[in-house]
């Protein structure tokens, strides 16, 4: 009987050690995951209309570049990020605003006037005047912003 008691005590201690050890491991592991991925899941800035400038600046039938800065909080650092938008109009009434970020892998595209296309220098992606892909690896047209005109001023919707 003594032997059996000794065996059960040993078994009890063994399961207690594995149980408590496992629990501590799970708490550490779960905390570490939450801690590491936390900032990645944080929502970006909220939607706001940003004023680009007067509509008179937009040349008819030529994508015109507007730039503005956005204040963002990244980690503990306040940064100003420069955003560029190409605005195109063919009738001076309706406007489209395109992002200059290549849809392939995020390099910046620029409008080449003599060739009538947007060109991305990273992997030779090409887009036509309305941002549709004409050559190279980009999987979809240039992203567009919602545009509105108020008192002859252009606004685009950013964030969200």
């Amino acid at each position: 009987m003594g032997e059996q008691n000794e065996l059960s005590r040993r078994n009890f201690m063994q399961s207690a050690i594995w149980g408590i050890g496992g629990l501590i491991g799970i708490v550490f592991g779960a905390s570490a995951v939450a801690y590491v991925v936390g900032p990645s899941l944080k929502k970006q800035q909220t939607e706001t209309w940003v004023r680009l400038g007067p509509t008179s600046k937009v040349e008819l039938g030529v994508p015109t570049l507007f730039t503005f800065t956005v204040q963002t909080q990244t980690g503990w650092i306040e940064t100003t990020e420069e955003v560029s938008v190409y605005v195109l109009t063919t009738d001076a009434r309706t406007y489209i605003a395109m992002s200059n970020i290549c849809t392939h892998l995020g390099c910046r595209v620029r409008w080449i006037t003599d060739q009538d296309k947007f060109f991305c220098p990273c992997h030779n992606g090409e887009f036509d005047i309305e941002g549709d892909v004409i050559a190279g690896p980009p999987p979809r047209p240039l992203d567009r912003y919602d545009v509105k005109v108020e008192n002859d001023q252009l606004y685009v919707l950013i964030g969200g």
Binding site: S31, A32, Y35, V36, P39, G75, I77
Partner: protein, 219 residues
């Protein structure tokens, strides 16, 4: 199935022999004071895990150190917990390690054949104090700055070499960006590397020599 894998592994690595030597070794009848060494090891493990996690956000430069620590504490999910475990673990480490040393002294466990275990233990105690000293500066707040001012001044008190010593520790005459990074580098690379080596030797000797029994009266 599970035993199939462990048997396969055992045939090739003899891991069971190692496991048994570490966890199923014979020990004399002892009391709870004999767990202080294991407790130190557990806290060291806690410090390593939480310390590694802290470096994911911490930046050791004067313009970011304080803000990144505040960011960890107030913005990162469970950042307060990770930092808290590291902060309080550090204090607990000093307490437990000193108690461990006192137990070894009062129960005569440092005697033959365990002198070398004691020597490595002295080294480990110094390392732990080194961790405390270098880690204290890293939050880069007022307390950290002035504690390090005082601490490095103390290092500067010996005659002749004192001034050099102070400048070597600070990396210049003042506490600066250079001081902060070298304390950081020491805290996360130099001391941990030395700690792993010394813990390895310390534990090898504990297992090799077995632990001492509680001394009996008249012996």
């Amino acid at each position: 199935m599970a035993s199939k894998i462990t048997n396969w592994l055992d045939e090739r690595t003899s891991w069971r022999q190692v496991w048994d030597a570490i966890f199923l070794r014979k020990v004399p009848k002892v009391n709870w004071l004999f767990t202080l060494g294991s407790a130190s090891l557990f806290i060291a493990l806690n410090q390593a895990i939480t310390g590694i996690l802290l470096t994911i956000y911490y930046v050791p430069t004067p313009d970011h150190a304080y803000d990144s620590v505040q960011y960890i504490t107030t913005q990162v999910p469970l950042g307060w917990l990770i930092r808290g475990l590291h902060h309080w673990g550090a204090s607990l480490m000093i307490i437990v390690v000193v108690l461990h040393m006192l137990r070894v002294i009062f129960l005569g466990a440092y005697k033959f054949p365990r002198e070398v275990t004691w020597f490595t233990g002295v080294g480990l105690l110094l390392l732990v104090i080194g961790f405390g000293f270098t880690g204290y500066l890293l939050p880069w707040d007022q307390k950290a700055f002035w504690a390090t001012t005082v601490g490095t001044r103390i290092a500067g008190t010996p005659p002749i070499i004192g001034d050099y010593l102070l400048r070597i520790i600070r990396g210049g005459t003042e506490i600066s960006a250079v001081t902060l990074v070298r304390f950081f580098g020491t805290h996360v690379w130099v001391l941990p590397a030395l700690l792993v080596i010394l813990i390895g030797i310390h534990l090898y000797l504990v297992i090799k020599n077995g632990i001492s029994a509680v001394p009996k009266k008249g012996m």
